[in-house]
Symmetry: C2
DNA sequence: AACCTTCTCCCCATAAATGGGGAGGGGAAA
DNA sequence: TTTCCCCTCCCCATTTATGGGGAGAAGGTT
């Protein structure tokens, strides 16, 4: 008699969760035990979890996927985790690997791949969706990686709440006067935040800030 | 006897599509007629469509949702369209309204809302998910909007080779003088490309261009 | 109490970006 | 040949962004 595989799903988009649940329900060996909409919920859940597999979106409000994995490592919580990502970012995959993730699914991939990924990871294997696999291959064959920069998606922590608010708006194409208007502060203040953001993130202009926000999943 | 409502779904994330299909299939009055993974596919499909409702993601490669709507307007194609967006961006909603969209769903919203949205729009009503509704309210009561650029424009401009070169460099944080230097052209020319890029991509500044480049996998 | 951080605002200045217009040359297509 | 698109460059102007400095108020920490 085969045991069922219990899965927990974490993503900030409820529609996506329902989709994954629907797909998973087509397989009789797997069952969804529950879901979380934020990283915080995942961490709360993890304290007393009963599931076998966690499907984790990297891009979530209140602690993103990376931070969740770090928390697991810190607390020595062992859950087999499959990462769900919008972008096939190899750097991220690398980082996730060192943090103990077991599988990587691109959101572009078809639903059936979720089933395969869950079963593979449950058997102790690793699983990568095709797009990510080919990117990894490229990385480990041709391209060399700059050794200096292990991109810490945690510098985000040194940003203050207000700075992050401003950063989000910058990345959404708002100008300083517009941001000042939205946050009800003076333009001078917004400019101060711009300067401080540029210093802290070490990029050279607003475009760099926007890219930083994307990479660090602030938006 | 009630007629079934036929729906077409367009999103670049297949998992999300499968999720929506699964949700829709729980309702016996609605059926998914097919799906598209890119804006181009939507446009191709629209030429000979038979569906009642189109569910359209704004963020897709090869012509995004906005360009699809523009194309519809240009060709006088009438399909009731429900926009699916990750962000509850009021600016976008505004623009979509003028382009003829009928409903707006945040990806955060629960699946049941899709059903409601489809039925409402099919009855000729408009539908907004809660987050967007409250943002709209804020817009029309308090906040002022800059009325500068409401871009009416031609359809589906493809970017020229040179424009794409410049776009890539912009998205890599280069300034106009630097780009001029790299491409061995004058700064005036680079500025001309900036203007043309802003017009064609319908974003409002360099940050928007960078985001556009990311979304369309130009970088 | 002294200290630190955060949030807020201001001064100064220069560089860069945006928005409008026009214009010539080259090449491809009609 | 004429037409059209692309690449190139310039004029004008205004708005934004960047870079340097300082500084007060509020809150928490030591």
């Amino acid at each position: 008699m085969k045991e069922k595989i219990y899965v927990h799903v974490a993503d900030d988009h409820k529609i996506l969760i329902e989709g994954i649940v629907a797909v998973i329900n087509t397989d009789k060996d797997i069952e969804v035990e529950g879901y979380s909409l934020t990283g915080k919920e995942v961490i709360d859940w993890a304290q007393s979890n009963t599931a076998d597999i966690l499907i984790l979106d990297i891009n979530m409000p209140h602690y993103d996927g990376i931070e969740v994995l770090k928390f697991f490592k810190l607390k020595d919580i062992k859950i087999k985790t499959i990462i769900l990502s919008s972008y096939d970012d190899v750097k991220l995959v690398e980082e996730m690997l060192t943090l103990g993730a077991s599988g990587f699914l691109s959101k572009d991939s078809a639903g059936e791949h979720i089933i395969n990924a869950i079963k593979a990871v449950h058997e102790g294997e690793q699983y990568f969706s095709d797009a990510i696999k080919s990117n990894l291959l490229k990385l480990y064959t041709g391209q060399k990686v700059k050794a200096g920069q292990r991109p810490e998606s945690t510098i985000a922590h040194s940003l203050t709440d207000r700075e992050i608010e401003v950063l989000k708006l910058i990345a959404q194409e708002y100008s300083s006067p517009e941001i000042a208007d939205i946050l009800n502060i003076s333009q001078s203040t917004v400019d101060t935040y711009r300067k401080s953001l540029l210093k802290k993130t070490n990029v050279k202009n607003a475009v760099g800030l926007a890219m930083y926000a994307v990479k660090n999943k602030i938006i």
